[in-house]
Point group: C2
Chain length 467, copies 2
């Protein structure tokens, strides 16, 4: 199954172009493309234009800036020329999280600096570094194979609002669905287990979240004059939250687990192979104990089990000291993480029915769902996943293990709209500090990303017949 492209040719090419590649990436990282900051909108646009020009220079015959009502995305394509070749769409984003020196950065977040083999800058790992390794990757692929076009039909979609919640992304991909048509999506916006344990992510959880407003008395009322004889919306909000889970911390909403794809024994074993250190994980979680659904390990809870989480709760008096009232209203912010097989619409309806049946007379309620993100899961046996694993194995020189992500992302929109599997190719590691001060990418891992991308297109074309 090993590809016919000689690894040494790829490595030689990459080594030769490494300095120029890093210089260009640094140029891009200097553009503060913070999508959440309206003052940075011109920078986000400059970032898109910079990338489109760079993709043209890389050789993509098509490289366009795509407008949205918000920040622009970048689209590029490079047809293979081979009518039987699979079509792959790489997804990433060119916008970054806010960053300021005073947040605790030891260097200017928008002046990249290499220290000890690590490139420090906002966006180094999330996500400019991981987008950019595809430019040198495809050049290395061509150089090593002598091709003038990639072995697959290569498309790139690099959005500009991921760090702002991708508000226009679903609409963007719906409008351009015909041009985005592909056989698989490769998301380069995730990470690996660790530097020494290279992994491929095989799925993300979905998400649906909502606000529940509970209304009791028409105004705050005196807890002495009326307390103990009328329903209290803060109490009822708390009773809803408490009833969401049973003593085994399983979600009690009827039908919540309907359709959940159970972990196979193989998957549980693969999770268990990972060198999970609970004490270290708790430090990452800033938490002091684990707690979750009975019968599952922490990794299973995070990656393969759906949850109901309280993101916020509020009602009545929250200032200093006491105030003896029965509050007139209370509010819950709840999010449900979903896993493959669950239907967000059914979960939402079950939750609505469950709430309506639980509240006492005298408590009026409203539930607002903000919109759902679907879960995605790549079957372990999928040929494109096997190509990713082989390409990484050649680049990293060891066994590639499997992880999932507990979070949710716009990748699921691509899966839904385009109707194709989503795969993940990321080389970032937990210590890279996404969204935190002193974000960095490790240069040797970044170059492994380039190398993986260089092997991947040939392997895919060779081993995956999509017709």
């Amino acid at each position: 199954m090993s590809s016919s492209i000689p690894d040494s040719a790829v490595r030689t090419y990459i080594d030769h172009h490494r300095d120029g590649f890093l210089a260009e990436l640094s140029e891009w990282l200097r553009i503060p493309s913070v999508s959440a900051d309206p003052d940075r909108a011109p920078d986000v646009r400059r970032s898109a234009e910079w990338l489109a020009a760079k993709l043209t220079a890389t050789g993509f015959p098509v490289a366009e800036v795509w407008e949205t009502p918000g920040a622009p995305a970048v689209y590029a394509e490079w047809p293979s020329g081979d009518p039987d070749a699979p079509t792959v769409l790489v997804y990433g984003h060119h916008d970054v999280q806010p960053a300021a020196r005073e947040d605790g950065w030891r260097t200017d977040p928008f002046e990249p600096e290499v220290v000890d083999g690590k490139l420090y800058a906002r966006g180094a790992a999330d996500d400019k570094g991981q987008v950019f390794f595809h430019t040198l990757g495809v050049r290395a692929h061509l150089a090593a194979t002598g091709r003038t076009a990639p072995a697959v039909n290569l498309k790139l979609l690099i959005e500009g609002e991921e760090e702002s919640g991708s508000p226009h992304f679903p609409d963007l991909i719906q409008r351009h669905a015909a041009r985005l048509a592909c056989d698989a999506v490769i998301v380069s916006d995730t990470g690996m287990w660790s530097k020494d344990v290279p992994t491929v992510c095989t799925g993300m959880r979905g998400l649906t979240d909502c606000q529940v407003d509970l209304y009791g008395p028409d105004q705050d009322i005196h807890s002495g004059s009326f307390g103990g004889a009328v329903p209290n919306p803060a109490t009822e909000a708390a009773r809803l939250v408490a009833a969401l889970h049973d003593e085994d911390r399983r979600v009690t909403v009827p039908g919540f687990y309907d359709g959940v794809v159970p972990l196979t024994d193989e998957e549980r074993e693969l999770f268990a192979e990972l060198p999970f250190d609970e004490a270290e994980w708790l430090r990452t979680a800033h938490s002091h104990a684990t707690l979750g659904e009975a019968g599952h390990t922490t990794l299973e809870r995070l990656w393969a089990r759906p949850t109901a989480e309280v993101n916020g709760i509020g009602g009545g008096y929250q200032g200093p000291g006491g105030k003896t009232i029965v509050p007139s209203s209370a509010r819950l912010k709840l999010s449900f993480r979903l896993v493959a097989g669950q239907d967000a619409g059914k979960v939402e309806q079950s939750f609505r029915d469950w709430v309506a049946a639980r509240l006492p007379e005298g408590i009026r309620h409203e539930i607002t769902f903000w919109g759902a993100t679907r879960p995605c899961l790549t079957p372990l046996g999928h040929p494109a996943l096997q190509s990713v694993v082989r390409a990484m194995g050649r680049a990293f020189g060891g066994k590639i293990r499997f992880t999932r992500e507990g979070g949710s992302g716009p990748a699921a929109d691509l899966q839904d709209v385009l109707g194709v599997p989503v795969l993940f190719l990321g080389i970032s590691i937990p210590s890279d500090g996404w969204h935190a001060p002193n974000e960095k990418v490790e240069l040797d891992l970044l170059m492994k990303g380039v190398e993986t991308a260089a092997y991947l297109w040939g392997d895919l074309a060779e081993n995956w017949r999509t017709a």
Copy 2:
């Protein structure tokens, strides 16, 4: 048992002095003695000085302004001269709630106006009107009996910070305990059932309230990356609240009901005699249904049963839209209304133990109690209570029924520090609008208050041997 003072003499005296009495009360009501407003501190002082001067003019040989670290109180005494006479301390307050025309007042809140037999002004009912009826009351008592001093040793303590939570009151009465020594306290700061159903209040609930802080992760963490695998302090706060009550809405904290004086059949019958209209009461409560401890009526729940109430709950994200976090902390404001027989200290300790035993590993907590107010309850057979009932019966000309108050007040401090029973003599009615715009007192009821006070001292001296 009817007193030897002729009722007609009392009524004639009151009718003759009614206009002057109302003019003086109006003068007092024009002083905006809002204790919560630092800018009004000079007005609160002016109110105290005005009252002390007026009590001197009434005939009290002692009338003093008592300083506190906050607003001043007024103390007056008028010895009976009879060594066997009981000593009675009247409690009220001369400060008022804030009020402004733009809150919905149809008249200037500090420019009293009589419309349709009702005197509109801030403090008309709460509490200047009810304090002031004692001035004309004692004059009528003397005039009708031909005495030069009251039949009881009469003391008045009129505080200046009741509407600000009486922060210095316990200290004040402790410092002056010797001078305040008495056989009973008469609180004139409550109300009656209605204009047509005159009542005596026989007790108030006590109160202890606290804040519970729960701490989970050291910072808000991502609900996708970590949710479902670590304890969530908002969830745990809600589970505490939900566990506070069982399905019968009884408080579940072990020992909470220890010592609770149960309602006798007679008391339940007396409560049931009151013309309680649930629909009307719900309008007063701004609520849309009743809910409370199983096996008790609404009045029993309010007056004779202890409660655990959520005054506030907060944790995590409460802004617009969603934010997918596991919050790092959550907070509860809880108040416990207590009834006779309960010990606030034991309730607090039981609650602390109960919380500590219920929280999972990884959730740290702190509980802060703000200090307790004891419940008070006058036994129905107490001779001083019977005197109050007889005096009211003569003034109102009908059967006097019994109520209690669900709220808590500084009266309990007097009971505790002075070690004597507390009785209630109030003529305000629910529609008087305490703390609300367009507060008023009904003039015919106010004059019944004067008349009751005129009968009371003679009846007490005649029928209550305290030695």
